[in-house]
């Protein structure tokens, strides 16, 4: 397969080679907790991308959950507390 790669012609500096993609994908892999320890050549690009999307979506869910929790906390804290008032005014 590497021979095929070298046959493909890159006509400009902006073109991305397969090797570059592989390199970028393996770097991305190190950020995904689930894939971090595994050898880059054992994990396919497709899997890394899939796990990246999944991970970002789970981070989104976590942020949404924390957001709800913080809203509730701020809404239910005693209103005459100075600290609560300051925090509330910063965030709401």
């Amino acid at each position: 397969m590497s021979s095929r790669r070298s046959r493909s012609r890159q006509s400009g500096a902006s073109r991305i080679t397969d090797d570059q993609i592989i390199d970028l994908v393996s770097k991305l892999q190190q950020l995904i907790p689930e894939l971090r320890g595994r050898r880059p050549d054992k994990v396919s690009a497709s899997k890394v991308l899939q796990e990246t999307c999944n991970y970002i979506r789970s981070l989104h869910r976590e942020v949404d959950g924390l957001s709800d929790r913080l809203s509730q906390l701020l809404a239910s804290t005693d209103t005459d507390s100075d600290q609560a008032a300051i925090i509330r005014s910063l965030l709401m």
Partner: protein, 138 residues
């Protein structure tokens, strides 16, 4: 003590709840010249070989090679599809080429993780505050 209308104010979301942008930019095609070029080059080479009237062994090799190419193509299509999905998830991703997209993705993940840490600290601080108040009879 009257609970004021705090509950009626806008619920803060510490960033807007995630929305998937359904638009797919044409930047995608520019991001993948590699795959198209490779496919075109290989097909030309295969056609040339066929026109040479090679023996059956060579034809078998060609078929194997074509199948290998098809598998590689399938793989590339899969990867391409996932990169598109990533572009839609990462803010501003649709305008980015593949290498910038990955950098942006990495930054975005780190930002989200930081945001989550900050929100957790804030939540536990507020909870702690509450508990303290109740303990001291505030």
């Amino acid at each position: 003590m009257e609970i004021n209308a705090v509950n009626q104010t806008n619920t803060p979301t510490f960033y807007s709840k995630t929305q998937q942008n359904p638009l797919m930019g044409s930047a995608l095609h520019e991001a993948f010249p590699t795959f198209q070029t490779t496919r075109g080059t290989t097909r030309k080479r295969t056609d040339y070989l066929k026109s040479q009237n090679k023996d059956s062994l060579r034809e078998e090799e060609e078929e194997e090679e074509e199948e290998e190419e098809d598998n590689d193509d399938d793989e590339r299509i899969e990867v391409k599809r996932k990169i598109v999905a990533l572009q839609r998830i990462v803010p501003g991703g649709e305008a980015l080429g593949v290498d910038k997209l990955f950098e942006e993705t990495a930054g975005y993940i780190l930002a989200l993780q930081g945001q989550i840490r900050a929100m957790r600290v804030l939540a536990s601080f507020i909870e702690g505050m509450d508990k303290q108040k109740r303990k001291l009879g505030g």
